[in-house]
């Protein structure tokens, strides 16, 4: 691992309790040997399992109707077709397999939307390791199908009741479990966040997204894309979609965060009603890394908000924060209403029901059609089946242009 992979500019690092440091050193060593150097054929086995269990490679599909709508070439990288219905399995499978190579006997993970928890539960069942998932109580209530899926795969789901009961609290609680059971347990973190080596390692497991997309784009269009768009919570689908394009200076990379209900912060209430840490956050230290955060003037972390639980987080991956500062990645955001409208639009136009997280990327395209180059790739990070309950509820509350009339459906 090079020095830049512990720190990304000023960001990153390892701000964790001492009890975890030996495990982090052990993980760093395993990452270098198995992932970076393919020791014992680890990467070969990983790729094989991503094929056989995960269904890779996945198509880069031309979106005919969006192409027509925006008068440009729009291609969809179909991570929603990965086993489990989201990009998350790339990382979960990689880390659970790594845990096995390291001789760990137990898997724990946090989850927000439940997609990472589901992917981890699947990977753990597939590889035969016991698994416990921490999930905020509020998220459990808005993602019930995913909770049941984790249980079906044999995982325990532990509700987290502190704070607002979302991803931030779930990560803290999983870190506490890890600090208690560090000797036999591996923590499968769900995004490019946390202490080094997690941000670099999770990116590497997801880099297959842009590795495939880059080749497919060359084959199908004869060149590289002008624009790559992905939603960003912690930023794992984002860095996965960007990683192999970072060196392609002519390809613009757009990370679309959740603008939530407003970009304004209510410091007195400790709430930022959005999850736009790249666009509006300040540098600080949370969950093991220095990165951009939603925090008040004192450094207390604010409660974030998004219509999509997978984006609802006060931090973001340190590498993404660095690439934004460098001007290599453009940070954008789209509010709850626009994301919901995009959810309905993509479903209707293309026959693809996207995750609410993913819908933010499409919301940005709708708002910025002039910013798209001749060829645009959108990373379809996941499918929206998990979101149907909350989409019905949220659609009823609003006047969403072109949406299904919920009242009429359930008359």
């Amino acid at each position: 691992m090079t020095a830049t992979d512990v720190k990304f500019g000023e960001y990153g690092g390892q701000y964790v309790p001492e009890a975890l440091m030996p495990a982090i050193e052990e993980l760093t060593d395993a990452y270098e040997r198995y992932v970076l150097e393919n020791e014992d054929g680890f990467m070969d086995e990983f790729r094989q399992r991503l094929r056989d269990f995960g269904g890779r490679p996945l198509p880069l599909q031309r979106a005919d109707h969006l192409s027509e709508r925006y008068d440009t070439e729009v291609y969809l990288k179909r991570e929603d077709l990965l086993h489990g219905g989201a990009h998350k399995l790339n990382n979960a499978l990689g880390q659970v397999l790594l845990a096995k190579y390291m001789g760990k006997e137990r898997i724990i993970a946090e989850t927000g939307a439940g997609q990472h928890g589901t992917a981890t539960a699947m990977a753990a069942a597939h590889l035969g390791l016991p698994c416990e998932i921490y999930m905020g109580e509020r998220d459990i209530n808005r993602q019930r199908p995913n909770v049941f899926r984790m249980k079906l795969n044999g995982s325990e789901v532990n509700p987290v009741t502190t704070g607002r009961g979302t991803l931030k609290e779930a990560i803290s609680e999983t870190m506490r479990d890890w600090a208690t059971n560090v000797e036999d347990t591996h923590y499968v973190i769900g995004s490019i966040v946390g202490p080094a080596p997690f941000p670099a390692m999770v990116r590497d497991f997801h880099a297959v997204i842009s590795e495939e997309a880059r080749e497919q784009c060359k084959e199908q269009t004869g060149g590289l894309p002008d624009t790559v768009v992905a939603c960003a919570g912690g930023g794992s689908n984002t860095m996965g979609a960007f990683a192999n394009f970072v060196e392609d200076a002519d390809t613009e990379l757009v990370a679309v965060e959740a603008g939530g209900s407003s970009l304004d912060v209510d410091e007195a209430a400790g709430v930022a009603p959005n999850s736009a840490s790249l666009s509006t956050g300040d540098e600080g230290v949370l969950h093991g890394a220095r990165t951009k955060l939603l925090q008040d003037g004192d450094g207390q972390i604010l409660e974030s908000h998004s219509i999509s639980s997978g984006l609802d987080y006060a931090g973001v991956g340190p590498e993404l924060a660095h690439l934004v500062d460098e001007g290599r990645v453009r940070a954008a955001n789209v509010d709850d209403d626009a994301a919901l409208a995009a959810f309905h639009r993509l479903s209707r136009l293309e026959g693809i029901i996207p995750a609410l997280e993913t819908a933010h990327a499409f919301g940005w395209m709708e708002e910025n059609p002039d910013e798209l180059g001749d060829v645009t790739i959108v990373n379809v990070s996941g499918r929206g089946d998990k979101d149907l309950e909350s989409v019905i509820e949220e659609t009823e509350k609003r006047d969403v242009e072109g949406a299904v009339d919920v009242g009429e459906v359930f008359r």
């Binding site: 009890a19 560090v182 949370l286 093991g288």
Partner: protein
């Protein structure tokens, strides 16, 4: 490395007792009374928690204290006022998470926080999410202002890691008695003896914490070779019970005082045991 005389002196006696409370739990005024009760009970050093919204090293007892304190309006600025208002003579160590130290003041980095702490007579810091690898800037600021930086040594810490920490530690070393997070337990971990024997070659005072609840625990830990005992959750439990039962502040303060007394006496009893057997009783059960 700058040393703060106050902490050295506090550990000069037979066995030091180091209680922890979260400042402002459950209210500013009550908390002042509670911290002062710790001194009356025989505390030699007091660890004062400045609550952070994401206390990843804390178990449920202290997490709830953090919530009560934050809801009561505690902020870093209020914390410094609190320290100023406190009427205690024993040295105070601020226990908090790095982001609050890092964000304080107008200048980048930990220096403004340390400068302010020094101006109010605080003696040092414990920062549970700051391992030796990331501690350079804080260590530097502590040296500049003559404050101590206490590091936590976990049961998993050994070899080069241990050396790296012991190169940077001052004041005392916080020996984490067991893996996991803070929280009162019903036994003394046998990992403690092994940790203490790994530390034998360094002469910085060793204070054991995490899970200690009774005078008997305190005795056993000191008998095993510790120079001091740190207790948080068992005291925070008293604050929480008082808060929930709406007990008058003076009554809760009295309970804190007598619990502190029990723990301090336990520690002293451990120090009074046959010096031949000290450092053996717990260590024997663990391979070193």
């Amino acid at each position: 490395m700058a040393e703060n005389e106050a902490l050295n002196e506090a550990f000069a006696g037979d066995a030091a007792f180091v209680p922890y409370l979260a400042a402002g739990d459950p209210s500013y005024e009550a908390s002042l009374e509670y911290v002062e009760a710790l001194e009356r009970g025989g505390a030699d050093v007091i660890e004062l928690g400045l609550p952070f919204s994401e206390p990843i090293a804390e178990g449920s007892t202290i997490q709830e204290a953090v919530v009560r304190s934050l809801e009561g309006g505690m902020t870093p600025e209020r914390f410094f006022e609190f320290v100023d208002d406190l009427d205690v003579d024993v040295p105070l160590v601020c226990m908090t998470y790095y982001n609050l130290i890092y964000q304080y003041g107008d200048d980048e980095g930990p220096r403004p926080f340390v400068e302010k702490a020094a101006s109010l007579g605080l003696s040092g810091f414990v920062v549970p999410d700051l391992p030796a690898e990331e501690a350079g800037p804080l260590r530097e600021a502590c040296d500049e202002f003559g404050l101590d930086l206490v590091f936590i040594v976990a049961p998993t810490t050994a070899g080069d890691r241990l050396k790296r920490i012991m190169d940077q530690v001052s004041g005392y070393v916080y020996v984490q008695a067991r893996l996991g997070v803070t929280g009162a337990k019903d036994d003394v971990s046998d990992q403690t003896g092994a940790s203490l024997s790994r530390l034998r070659e360094w002469d910085v005072p060793k204070a054991v914490g995490f899970g200690i609840k009774t005078g008997e625990h305190a005795r056993a830990v000191v008998a095993a070779g510790a120079d001091g005992v740190i207790v948080g959750s068992a005291l925070v439990d008293i604050v929480a019970e008082g808060h929930e039962a709406d007990t008058p502040v003076a009554e809760t303060a009295e309970r804190l005082e007598s619990k502190t007394h029990e723990l301090k006496q336990g520690a002293l009893a451990g120090a009074g045991e046959d010096p031949e057997s000290r450092g053996e009783s717990l260590a024997e059960s663990e391979p070193t």
